[in-house]
């Protein structure tokens, strides 16, 4: 008797699992949104919105709220479409994001990301590994050709320039340029916001230093030499800078993206007072790219998310976070952004954008030679 009961229960449990696994397919019978390549292809924006609402949620990854005002972007998306946003690890690196897509190929649960925001070099890599889907947003044509994949698999989202975030309480004489950092008054004060062998931000900092010290977009070696000098002079502090260490005074001069530095300045609200300096030379622009996961559990919602990000509204929200959105020129031309917001943006005239090939070469050179050139000092 008991055995029969157990068998029946097991059968019911198995049936339940099978049914729930089958269900998503049933509701997607009309249109497979994982194959949709544009809003027109979906049958119009309204159809896309309806399908996204039916899915109910979009899963994002690696979107810290203070980074380019993603907090505002997420809230704006939720308010506009009434969808949920399931946020995975905000601190994930680009490798983590792709690994999450790969590992969750068969997973329709909340662990699988729908969309990714990765470093420029990862766009082509993800395309090669067939981890991302083709999707061209409505405003596709206004995205500069140099910042997107011609086929439509990945597309640049925003850029910023590397700047110095300075704790004005600790550092009285704020440095204005890369060469200033070598001065003896900044003994033990200069830090990076990541590991130069694996963090995009830190690697670009070395690349930017190269631009300012005799290197070029094709030659990142002077950047390594600069940091070697910095380390030997005792000005470099090996700690990975965080808002806590900046405020505490251990890393009073941190090299970070302008948008991070500025939003941190606002968050600290004068305690301690922060000055953000875009260096006079060596202005290096770093671009990040967006893509829809090929294995997204919520393909319609993922595409709607992209539409939102590349709409004027989405791009302006990024602008509020001190980022230069990728459609910046277009927005300016159509006067789509209020002037007071534009005034708050840092001055980044003269910023240079590396090509994909240059970026790859520089990354390789920096990550492989950092230890040999700079890192040999810590006993």
């Amino acid at each position: 008797m008991k055995k029969r009961l157990m068998h029946a229960l097991a059968l019911m449990a198995a049936l339940a699992l099978v049914l729930t696994a089958c269900q998503p397919a049933a509701t997607e019978a009309p249109k497979d949104f994982s194959k949709v390549t544009s809003a027109a292809d979906a049958g119009g924006m309204d159809a896309l919105v309806a399908a996204a609402k039916a899915e109910g949620t979009v899963t994002t990854i690696a979107l810290p709220h203070d980074w380019c005002n993603y907090g505002g972007v997420i809230d704006g998306f939720k308010a506009k479409y009434g969808l949920q946003v399931n946020e995975l690890d905000p601190n994930a690196g680009s490798n983590d994001e792709l690994e999450a897509v790969k590992a969750n190929k068969d997973n329709k649960g909340p662990q699988a990301p729908d969309v990714v925001d990765v470093g420029l070099a990862f766009g082509p890599q993800a395309k090669t590994e067939q981890l991302i889907s083709l999707y061209k947003v409505s405003t596709w044509d206004t995205i500069p050709a140099s910042a997107k994949d011609a086929d439509g698999y990945w597309y640049g989202d925003y850029y910023g320039v590397l700047a110095f975030e300075v704790n004005a309480n600790v550092v009285k004489n704020v440095p204005q340029d890369w060469s200033d950092l070598l001065k003896p008054e900044y003994q033990g004060q200069v830090a990076l916001a990541g590991d130069p062998r694996s963090s995009n931000q830190a690697i670009q900092a070395v690349y930017a230093a190269a631009l300012a010290t005799g290197g070029s977009l094709d030659n990142a070696e002077p950047g390594l030499q600069f940091f070697k000098q910095l380390n030997e002079a005792g000005n470099f502090v090996p700690v990975i800078a965080k808002p806590g260490t900046i405020a505490q005074g251990e890393t009073p001069i941190t090299i970070r993206w302008t948008y991070n530095a500025l939003s941190n300045r606002d968050a600290l609200a004068g305690n301690p007072p922060i000055e953000v300096v875009v260096p006079a030379s060596g202005r290096f622009a770093g671009v990040y790219v967006q893509a829809v996961s090929a294995y997204a559990p919520h393909p319609a919602a993922a595409r709607l998310w992209m539409e939102f990000l590349y709409s004027d509204e989405g791009q302006t929200l990024w602008l509020k976070g001190y980022c230069h959105p990728i459609r910046y020129e277009d927005l300016l031309a159509r006067k789509a952004v209020p002037q007071d917001l534009l005034d708050k943006l840092p001055d980044v005239t003269g910023a240079v954008f590396p090509s994909l090939a240059q970026l790859d070469a520089a990354k390789k050179a920096i990550t492989e030679n950092w230890d040999a050139v700079v890192g040999a000092d810590v006993k």
Binding site: L192, D195, S198, P238, I240, Q248, E250, D377, V378, K379
Partner: protein, 309 residues
Amino acid sequence: MSQHSLLTGTQHETRGAPEARPVPLKRRASWAWVGVVPFFVFALLFLLLPTGFLFVGSFQDSLGRFTLDNYPKLFRTLVLEAYWRSIRISFVTALGGGVFGFLLAYAVIMGGLPRFVRSALMTFSGVASNFAGVPLAFAFIATIGQAGLLTLWIKDLFNVNIYDKSVGFTLYSFWGLSLVYMYFQFPLMVLIISPAIDGLRREWREASENLGATPWQYWRYVALPILLPSLLGTMILLFGNAFGAQATAFALTGGTYNLVTILIGAQIRGDVLRDPGLGYTLAVGMVIIMAICIGGYTWLQRWTEKWLR
């Protein structure tokens, strides 16, 4: 009635006690295996199978094709240095953590201190044993970093800057990192060795004193031999604990200090298109080192256990 053997601590019943029911040898062996099956099944399901990807991955290159190229990369100078550093810091903090942790545990258990001190230390150790990563690194930066509380006090009181070249102290060094690691090594030792210290019966100390032994002789011939297997076992735990630690070292020394765990992180995670196969291979290397350590420790164990026979 019953006697305590000073060296082995086992009780010998001098009165005839009914013996345990004799069980046929074959049946005994099969029962024993059943006892560990749940453990191995659980480990298989949730540890060994997922870790299988580690081994598989170590034979793949960055595009997923089979390759044996990853293993020779383990012998590059950079990698060997990283392994050596990891082993060194694990060994030093296991030893240092083991010794001071043991002293601390012994002090609160046998030192004649009030009862609440022991409870407080045990519960505190529970918390401190996992206080690691960025919060721990930050705590030490805030204490003896260049802008740290202690650093500034010393500057004010003694007019000495410990980070000055003449004094040469720096938190961002092997010894600085070891100092930070101790924060979770001491408590671990305290917690694990306490039952062993509890097991040191007071009667043994009294008996040895009665027989005229000095405290040194008590330690040398009675206490230490009994404690040695547990001490060794706990130290290897401390070794593994430090060996696998990554977050603390990373937060403290970022990209300038190479430990294997940091190298692995740089390969598998991060924002650079690196070689995950190499990362997995590095991890396999760590597994092999742990296996060797356990081998050495087991041999040491057997040798010390002879004292207890």
